[in-house]
């Protein structure tokens, strides 16, 4: 006797909504079990991990602040992933966007123009796109697999940031520490809610989600890319260009990641340092999949991911649990979320022994 999954004739609507609840339930349950095994009060643990971060206005704003770069990167990646374009280098594209936009800010440090910020954001998008264009070109021209090339470019981007902040862009009044000057006030994204850090980048992210939804569900090009991902031969037969899908997937991913990058340096950080991103480009891949590659899903999954990060910080302070425990939770939650989705397309059946 074992459990077998039979495909449903059509996806279950009920399970589409129920599955995340099932996953969260499993997570909370196993989380509480884990707390208990570690000698902590499960209810207290749950409160500290999931509710502490949101206990005041500042906390909720921080949730959105942390979710913003995840949303941006994830929606860009989702466009590509749907077409089987595997951009693993969003982290590098984010850094290059930060450099491009940050470079504009540093160059125009005396400017009061209202076009400075939009110019920086545009530069950030272009910077990310340029970095993503490299794996796209190598794939379409030389058939080089983009998984490898985009990943290698992450390391190279990190080294470029390092070189710039240790060298040409280093703040001359900074006692030779690796950092640029702080950006001037006009080059910092405006705060949306006073007393918090959530800034205009959130609006850009939500705009990107809306644009992403429109692209994926209402545009012909988006349709082409979806078909290219699901049925490669059919799409080629219909005349959809595989090369165009690669370019589109990589450039959109790179552009969004670039905007995420400039949002960080022109937002909460306020300068270029060697610590622009704690791995948003990689976390965004998970956010994209947990969000089922749809903008609405990505909105929620990025908030959830941000909550997990913040919960880990709280767990360290109030439960005396080490940092690594938050990674364990994140991993577990992701497994449960991914696993629960099976019920949407498949029906479980107990199968007896044959013969």
């Amino acid at each position: 006797m074992w459990l077998k999954f039979e495909p449903r004739p059509e996806p279950s609507r009920l399970m589409t909504y129920l599955s995340p609840l099932l996953a969260v339930g499993l997570m909370v349950g196993s989380g509480m079990l884990l707390f208990h095994l570690l000698g902590k009060d499960p209810v207290e643990g749950f409160k500290v991990f999931f509710m502490n971060p949101l206990k005041d206005k500042y906390g909720v704003a921080e949730l959105f602040l942390k979710a913003t770069p995840l949303m941006l990167c994830a929606v860009g990646l989702a466009v590509g992933f749907r077409a089987n374009v595997w951009n693993i280098g969003a982290e590098g594209q984010l850094l290059m966007g930060a450099l491009a936009g940050g470079g504009v800010a540093l160059h125009f440090e005396a400017s009061h123009s209202p076009f400075l910020l939009p110019g920086m954001i545009l530069a950030g998008a272009l910077g990310g796109m340029a970095w993503a264009a490299i794996p796209a070109w190598l794939r379409t021209r030389f058939n080089a697999n983009e998984i490898l090339t985009s990943l290698m470019l992450v390391y190279i981007a990190e080294l470029m940031v390092s070189w710039l902040v240790h060298g040409p862009w280093m703040d001359p009044d900074g006692f030779n520490f690796p950092q640029t000057k702080l950006f001037q006030a006009k080059a910092i994204l405006p705060i949306l809610v006073p007393g918090t850090r959530v800034n205009a980048a959130l609006l850009i992210a939500i705009g990107a989600l809306v644009a992403g939804w429109v692209f994926m569900n209402r545009s012909f090009l988006g349709y082409q890319m979806k078909v290219a991902g699901q049925a490669e031969h059919a799409s080629r037969y219909a005349g959809f260009s595989a090369k165009r899908a690669v370019w589109m997937g990589m450039l959109v991913g790179g552009g969004m990641a670039g905007i995420a990058g400039i949002s960080e340096v022109a937002g909460p950080i306020g300068q270029i340092t060697e610590h622009i991103s704690p791995g948003y480009g990689f976390a965004a891949m998970i956010v994209a999949f947990v969000g089922r590659l749809s903008p609405i899903g990505i909105f929620f999954s990025s908030l959830l991911m941000a909550l997990l990060y913040m919960g880990g910080e709280q767990a360290q302070q109030y439960l005396a649990l080490p940092y690594s425990i938050s990674k364990v939770f994140q991993g577990m939650l992701l497994f449960f979320l991914l696993g629960s989705d099976v019920f949407i397309h498949f029906r479980p059946r107990w199968v007896g022994r044959k013969k």
Partner: protein, 310 residues
């Protein structure tokens, strides 16, 4: 000093490349069956801590390797359940595993962070180790280094000369066709995934027991990702995995030698550090140009979820 210099670089390159080869070979087999498992970093971490703890408690490097192997298989089993039985997206499942694995290893490894482990002696191959230049570099290494060479040949033989290897490749090329012939696609993929996990666990064991005999969280330091990239670099051919690992490791080691020798170079250090990555991309581009040979070796169904009875 001249020959000694080259010999040292070669020696260090082989050592640096060994964990990459072992992990990449495992992932290669997994991918040949059509499954993309991005969880290597997490599996390596758990393998490393399991091996370290075993070495500490038993004093036996051999048992430590077995522990790493077992821990690696267990972790990849989780991936298998997610991606093969529950048919979740493979990329996401692998990423979840890498996060979970790194965190889990850090967590259970905490009590071992202050433990000092005695280093294990290398195994010297008689006669061969007297060869000039190559002798001390290649034949006075740890057992797992020789294991990595053996496995390179072994995996190549398995994939291209054995019946099971042929079946596995067929599954990777077209799981639907393989299924219709009567092969149990899911079971074969499970075996491939478990093999990949075992190898990743052994790679992790090499790091914590032989390479730098210690356990600290984060010590895998991204090598799992490099190994994954090497599989693609190798265009899924086992011998190229070795070439790639030594190329990568060799670049890393060489730039250290250049730095340490005091040669005056007016090049930023970051530029030198980026050479291994740039070299990897360049070589990949050069060898990928032939579309036909690429298609010949890359598993067509890589990353796609197999849906039985679909």
């Amino acid at each position: 000093m001249g020959l000694g210099f080259l010999s040292s670089i070669l020696f260090a390159t082989v050592v640096a490349g060994t964990p990459l080869i072992i992990v990449a070979l495992g992932e290669l087999v997994t991918e040949k069956a059509g499954v993309l498992n991005l969880g290597a970093e997490g599996i390596m971490s758990v393998g490393a801590v399991a091996a370290f703890a075993t070495a500490h408690h038993t004093g036996s490097p051999f048992l430590a390797i077995l522990a790493g192997l077992g821990a690696g298989m267990f972790m990849s089993l989780l991936f298998g359940i997610s991606a093969l039985t529950l048919m979740a997206n493979q990329v996401a499942s692998g990423l979840a595993l890498s996060i979970f694995g790194v965190g889990l290893a850090a967590f259970i490894g905490k009590p071992y962070e202050s433990v000092a482990l005695a280093s294990v002696a290398v195994i010297k191959v008689p006669v061969l180790n007297r060869l000039p230049l190559l002798g001390p570099a290649l034949f006075e290494q740890h057992g797992l280094v020789y294991f990595s060479w053996f496995m390179t040949a072994g995996v190549a033989w398995f994939l291209y000369r054995s019946r099971l290897g042929l079946v596995l490749r067929a599954v990777g090329e077209s799981p639907v066709s393989a299924h219709s012939i009567g092969f149990n696609v899911v079971r074969i993929r499970y075996l491939a995934v478990l093999f990949g996990g075992a190898m990743a666990g052994i790679g992790g064991a090499f790091l914590s027991v032989f390479y730098t005999p210690m356990w600290v969280e984060g010590m895998v330091a991204g090598r799992g990702w490099i190994a994954l990239a090497l599989v693609v670099f190798a265009t899924w051919r086992p011998h190229r995995v070795m070439v790639g690992a030594y190329l990568f490791g060799g670049c890393m080691i060489s730039q250290m030698f250049v730095q340490g020798s005091g040669v005056r170079l007016d090049i930023p250090a970051q530029f030198l550090s980026s050479l291994p990555y740039a070299a990897t991309v360049l070589v990949l581009v050069l060898i990928s140009r032939n579309r036909t040979t690429i298609r010949l070796h890359s598993p067509a169904s890589l990353g796609q979820t197999f849906l039985p009875d679909a």
